[in-house]
């Protein structure tokens, strides 16, 4: 088993209204920030995951996104998997 670090970015599907992003964008000029456009607010979910290899980790996280982490009716997601042990000095037993 290896420990992977999973990062999932969940955002509203394009075409779905994003009232939060719009409201922030409309408020910015009054706060003194100009030249800002296309504000989108999404979620970033990070966690550690045990899996035998990267392929398994990836398919596991993909399934978790479909079933729990994203609401695929209105949201889409991207995910990335990093082998934590490779980031560090050596590989764990």
């Amino acid at each position: 088993m290896t420990n992977f670090k999973a990062t999932v970015h969940v955002s509203l599907r394009s075409g779905i209204a994003d009232p939060q992003g719009l409201t922030i964008e409309r408020a910015l000029p009054a706060l003194g920030y100009t030249g800002v456009s296309g504000v989108r607010v999404g979620k970033l979910i990070e966690f550690g995951l045990d899996a035998s290899d990267a392929t398994e980790a990836e398919s596991k996280v993909g399934e978790m996104c479909e079933r729990l982490l994203a609401n695929t009716v209105i949201e889409s997601y991207t995910l990335s998997i990093v082998d934590e042990s490779e980031d560090l000095a050596g590989r764990e037993s």
Binding site: P19, Q20, I24, A30, L31
Partner: protein, 230 residues
Amino acid sequence: MTARVGIVVFPGSNCELDCERSFERLGASTEFVWHDDNTLPDVDIVVLPGGFAHGDYLRTGALARFSPIMHSVAEHAAAGKLLIGICNGFQVLCEAGLLPGALRKNEGLKFLCKWTELRVEVPGTPFTARAERGQLLRIPINHFEGNWYADPDTVARMRANHQIVLRYVKNPNGSLDGVAGISNERGNVLGLMPHPERACESLLGSEDGAVIIGSMLDHVMHMQPSPAGV
């Protein structure tokens, strides 16, 4: 002679009518102040009411604290006059740095509208003069983000300085130390999550909110050079 109260209305505020009604019921005169104005009218007390200013988008209070009126609100507080932020108003005050700490999502991740019991930890403030130490007040909460937090140093300083004014008897939301309401160092700014304006009439379940609102009005009346016979 009545206390003059300015109730700031942000786009998305929704408790301004209730504040108007309850403050007036207790003898104040009130007026609404639009967030986009630059200066406050001549008032003794400023209220930041509950609601969802700017939809609470991004973070509760995050956008509201930049409203033009907030300059003037900060000056009002700096002059030692009374400022109270209720629920969303409390969140705005924390975001604006007029009160310490921040409000996080309730521990149970649910919006909660319910009656709570508060203990008055610091009597004798302009907001609690009508109460005794340890007095219990029945006042409802109504929020998703009422879970107050500040770092340990700040909390220690606030305790020493008697800024933790109101605590929940039974913590509903995970708030640090059971904090329901806090004041600034000088003691003239109060932020609290419970809604005293909802508890000023026995028909609606409690009159304990009048302890807080009434204390503020008393304070203003005492500060004023009172004409004889009033």
